[in-house]
């Protein structure tokens, strides 16, 4: 059967070869033709059939080989042909195998090609799909953008729809269209808005014109009025000789009053009260208004303006402060300049001030100048004392007017502003304490004189001053000042006398003082606060009431022989004199030279004797006199110097006190308290 197939095949092949030979000849390439033919053939044949023919061919080959092998082994001569025949068949069978192999190869190649082509088509389709999707997405984005677009007209506030239909003319509102078409409605409303605005602008222009015209007419009237003034002045001028001849001071008083009217209200109160006091009691006092009138007018006007728009200002100020300082340097500079301007504004005084001159004996007079701080809303005072006498250096700051007025009333040092709000105002511009600004001194009594009342942060003080408020009229204050100045002048002469070593002789008094003493005043000098503080054990007492400090050194000195060079009995007293002297006695704090072993108790006893044990407030000299007596007694009772005074016992009582109390009996005796 295989043979038949083979033959069939070969026949066919030949046919096909011959069939195509014409073409191939034409091409000149038989090989290609053959290949294409075989490809075609391979496609037509079924692979199953081929595999069957392959197996049968192989079988045939095997059988033929076996036969050949058998024949050869028989060594039969006939067999040679048969063998030859078999060899030919076998070779043909091999050719058949080869053919089959080629067919298979072609098929495989074809299958592969078809796979590749279908794959590439899938790829291209996929790519196309992707492109389409991307396009979709882009379009969507565009849509969103379009939707989000905001038109300018949305910001314009329009009149409501009803109002629009009611007011707009038909040709603009066109209700037949716009009722149904919201877009058209919108357009129509916008148009209406535009026409309305145009109308208003026109109206505005017209009004401005009117205003200008009115202003012009006002101006012309003003000039007419101004022209009147010189005429009036000339009339006034002409009336002066008449006034003088009639002895009327109308003009002067009127001028002064006119000026006073321009004063800030607290100063006006002060001026009014003070001039009333002058007229009523004391003609030696001079009350004046000083300063630039024109400026005062301007300041008063500004003041009124400021008050009206102060709110707006604070708002804008806040805005300015909030803007960050980051851009340029000159920006900052201007900011600083602005700050500086504000500062000066805060510390501005009213241009007019009240001057009160208090004349004391001879040429001594005290000038008080009262100023009003426009922003801080307090009154300050500047004072000047003019004395006729020689100003001794040693009197130091005793006669400096500030120190004279300090603590005119208890706790009134004038270091801080009495207006509690000022603390914050000053702090805002880092201005520190009020006293450091050199704007005069804001004593509390000054505020009260000017009718200003502030709440004191110290409740105790509040209670304290309330009791006094009844006597707090200008009258009392002026009297108090006068009294204080006189007392201070007296103190000055007293201290000067003491510095020269002159101890005044005492006449009979409530407190008796011995006259014959051995202790002398060795040295009397002014010392500084710091020196005074040195090893001082009751500092807390005086810290806020200090005024003036002196140091007195007294030395026991009877005859020359007792001033042994190695053994000087000396006592040093540090004396604090309060502003209220002689109302409050000076305070002595003493120490003794180390050669005397005096215990703290001894010093305390002497101090008590000198500081406290008086019936009436003593003077500085009286205290010094007693101090000298005490020192004498102490030294004598201690046996350090010969006894000279009359006393019965040197010590008495558990405290071992000395007889410091003096009695004028016989030659004067000393007893214990």
């Amino acid at each position: 059967m295989g043979k038949e197939n083979d033959s069939d095949n070969t026949k066919k092949r030949r046919k096909s070869v011959s069939g195509n030979s014409g073409m191939s000849l034409k091409d000149g390439d038989t090989y290609k033709v053959i290949i294409s033919y075989e490809e075609k053939e391979a496609m037509e044949r079924l692979s199953e059939n081929d595999s069957e023919s392959f197996l049968s061919t192989c079988d045939n080959i095997r059988k033929a080989m076996n036969k050949i092998a058998k024949l050869k082994s028989n060594g039969d001569a006939n067999a040679k042909d048969e063998i030859h025949e078999l060899q030919i068949q076998t070779s043909l069978a091999f050719i058949e195998l080869k053919k089959l192999n080629r067919m298979e190869k072609f098929r495989t190649k074809f299958a592969r090609d078809s796979l590749i082509s279908s794959k590439s088509s899938v790829d291209s389709k996929h790519l196309h799909l992707q492109n389409l999707l991307y396009e979709v997405m882009h379009l969507k984005k565009e849509v969103v953008k379009c939707l989000q677009f905001k038109s300018k007209d949305e910001l314009i506030q329009l009149v409501s729809e009803e109002e629009f239909y009611k007011e707009a003319p038909e040709n603009i509102s066109r209700p037949e269209i716009t009722k149904h078409n919201p877009h058209q409605l919108r357009l129509a409303r916008l148009e209406w808005e535009l026409t309305q605005r145009k109308q208003l602008a026109a109206l505005c222009d017209e009004l401005t014109e009117n205003k200008k015209a009115v202003a012009l007419s006002i101006e012309s009237k003003q000039t007419r009025l101004d022209n009147l003034a010189p005429q009036l002045y000339s009339i006034l001028e002409a009336s002066k000789p008449l006034q003088e001849s009639l002895g009327l001071l109308l003009d002067k008083v009127r001028q002064e009053h006119h000026k006073a009217a321009l004063l800030a209200s607290p100063l006006y109160v002060l001026y009014a009260k003070a001039s009333a006091y002058r007229d009523a009691y004391d003609n030696s006092i001079i009350v004046k208004v000083e300063g630039d009138e024109e400026e005062a007018k301007r300041a008063n006007n500004q003041d009124a303006l400021q008050e009206s728009d102060s709110d707006a200002e604070t708002v804008s100020e806040n805005v300015i402060e909030e803007t960050p300082v980051h851009k340029k340097r000159h920006h900052r500079l201007s900011r600083e300049a602005r700050q500086e301007e504000k500062k000066t504004k805060l510390l501005q005084r009213h241009p007019l001030n009240v001057k009160i001159i208090i004349k004391l004996k001879n040429e001594t007079k005290l000038t008080l100048q009262f100023y009003y701080m426009m922003s801080l809303k307090i009154v300050t005072v500047e004072s000047k004392l003019k004395t006729d006498g020689i100003m001794d250096i040693s009197t130091g700051d005793m006669l400096i007017s500030e120190s004279i007025l300090r603590e005119l009333y208890p706790r009134d040092l004038g270091l801080e502003s009495p207006n509690p709000a000022n603390y914050y105002q000053l702090n805002r511009y880092n201005l520190g304490q009020f006293s450091s600004l050199g704007l005069g001194i804001p004593y509390k009594w000054v505020q009260r004189m000017a009718g200003l009342h502030f709440i004191s942060p110290d409740a105790r003080e509040q209670r304290f001053t309330n009791g006094e408020i009844t006597q707090d009229s200008v009258e009392c204050v002026l009297r108090e000042i006068k009294r204080r100045v006189i007392a201070r002048l007296e103190l000055c002469t007293e201290i000067r006398q003491l510095e020269y070593g002159n101890l005044p002789i005492f006449t009979a008094n409530n407190d008796l003082l011995p006259q014959k003493l051995s202790t002398i005043l060795q040295k009397f000098s002014t010392i500084s606060w710091n020196n005074y503080c040195n090893n001082d054990w009751y500092l807390h007492w005086i810290s806020f009431m200090r005024l003036y400090f002196v140091e007195a050194i007294v030395r026991y000195c009877r005859t020359i022989q007792y001033i042994n060079l190695y053994f000087i009995n000396e006592l040093i007293a540090r004396i604090a004199i309060k502003p209220d002297y002689p109302k409050i006695a000076p305070l002595f704090s003493i120490s003794m030279s180390p050669t005397i072993h005096a215990s703290a108790d001894i010093l305390r006893d002497i101090e008590r004797e000198v500081n406290v044990m008086w019936i009436k407030q003593p003077t500085l000299s009286a205290q010094l006199q007693r101090l000298r007596a005490c020192f004498d007694i102490y030294l004598e009772s201690e046996g350090l110097v010969p006894k000279e005074k009359i006393f019965f016992h040197s010590v008495k009582g558990r405290t071992r006190a000395r007889p410091y109390k003096y009695l004028e009996l016989g030659g004067g005796i000393f007893i214990h308290r």
Binding site: F464, Y538, W541, K578, I584, A585, L587, H597, S599, A600, D601, R604, E607, R608, N611, V612, Q617, F648, H649, V651, K652, G653, R654, T655, R656, L663, L665, I669, I671, H672
Partner: protein
């Protein structure tokens, strides 16, 4: 608000004497300016409500105007104060009641004085014996007067000292009295025989005397076995039987004004900024800082409230509830 001069006066105030009321509920103190302050103990021990508040006496009595309240002692019914030329008795009931400020003295005993009118007899020290109701008053004129409180009559006068009496101390049994004086001696008196039995002169003992401070003896206290004294000379403990010094205390003081024997311990104070608490052997148990530079009086009680009070050259009393530290200070006067 106090005036400036009043504040100054109070700054130099000195608390001269103290005692407790008979029921132990009040502490009473007398000052150099003649005032007596009454403190209710329960009130001063109460915590302060605010920072500004200060502890003050409940009542203030102007007991001896223009004089001092140099000494005081407490009896069953009366507060007895000693001043210049007189001894006054004040009823405890009125002194510790709200009417205290207007109270007048219940009785007064005048001290017989010599002609020397400017230097009247001042009572510097008082001692009271409840067993026989006798009051002993150590005075300025170097004498010790013994008064019977039954009738206020002078029973006897103990004479012997040559300078004024600084302090007295009575034995619990009431049989013996010790007195110390400016003259530098300590005298022991037998009260039954009314005579001077012993004289001690600490100044003559080498390691006791301090010539710089003088010979005066500022305080004395004694028991059956021991006698404690000090002043210008150092504080010293003497044996009663041999009359020899047993311990000499080396304290940083400039003079002793207070010396007491209390529960087998010694309390001493004076011109020093502390009150010292010592054993018999001289060992320091504690030292309590004081408000004043000089302490003139220390009193203590056990019941109903254990309390120590220290007074001296300042306007403050220092109060301890324990003898180791200062608990609080009270103002004598506002």
């Amino acid at each position: 608000m106090l005036s400036e001069s009043m504040r100054r006066k109070l700054f130099y105030n000195t608390v001269m004497s103290q005692c407790f009321s008979s029921d132990g509920s009040c502490l009473v103190a007398g000052s150099l300016y003649g005032y007596v302050a009454v403190f209710e103990i329960s009130k001063i021990l109460r915590p302060l409500r605010t920072e500004y508040e200060s502890r003050r006496p409940s009542y203030h009595i102007e007991a001896h105007p223009d004089s001092h309240v140099d000494s005081m002692v407490s009896t069953e019914n009366f507060l007895v104060t000693g001043s210049i030329g007189e001894i006054c008795g004040w009823d405890w009931k009125s002194v510790t009641s709200s009417k205290a400020e207007k109270t007048k003295a219940s009785w007064t005993i005048k001290i017989p004085s010599e002609n020397d009118s400017y230097d009247g007899a001042v009572v510097f020290s008082l001692a009271y014996c409840s067993a026989n109701n006798l009051l002993y008053a150590g005075c300025n004129d170097s004498k010790i007067y013994v008064f019977s409180l039954e009738d206020g009559k002078l029973v006897t006068t103990l004479e012997g000292h040559t300078r004024f009496i600084h302090g007295l101390s009575l034995l619990d049994s009431g049989t013996q009295l010790a007195s110390c004086s400016e003259d530098g001696t300590v005298r022991l008196w037998d009260l039954r025989k009314k005579e001077n039995t012993n004289v001690l002169t600490p100044n003559l003992v080498d390691n006791i005397h301090r010539s710089r401070l003088g010979e005066w003896i500022g305080a004395v206290d004694f028991t059956e076995d021991w006698l404690l004294c000090g002043g210008g000379p150092k504080l010293s403990l003497w044996h009663m039987r041999t009359m020899q010094p047993a311990t000499v205390f080396d304290l940083p003081d400039e003079g002793i004004y207070v010396a007491k024997i209390y529960e087998e311990r010694i309390i001493a104070a004076g011109l020093a900024s502390h009150v010292y608490n010592l054993t018999y052997q001289g060992e320091m148990l504690s030292s309590i800082p004081t408000s004043s530079d000089t302490t003139y009086t220390v009193v203590y009680q056990e019941t109903p409230q254990r309390l120590f009070s220290i007074g001296g050259a300042s306007n403050f009393l220092d109060i301890c509830t324990n003898c180791n530290y200062r608990e609080l200070s009270v103002q004598f006067a506002p």
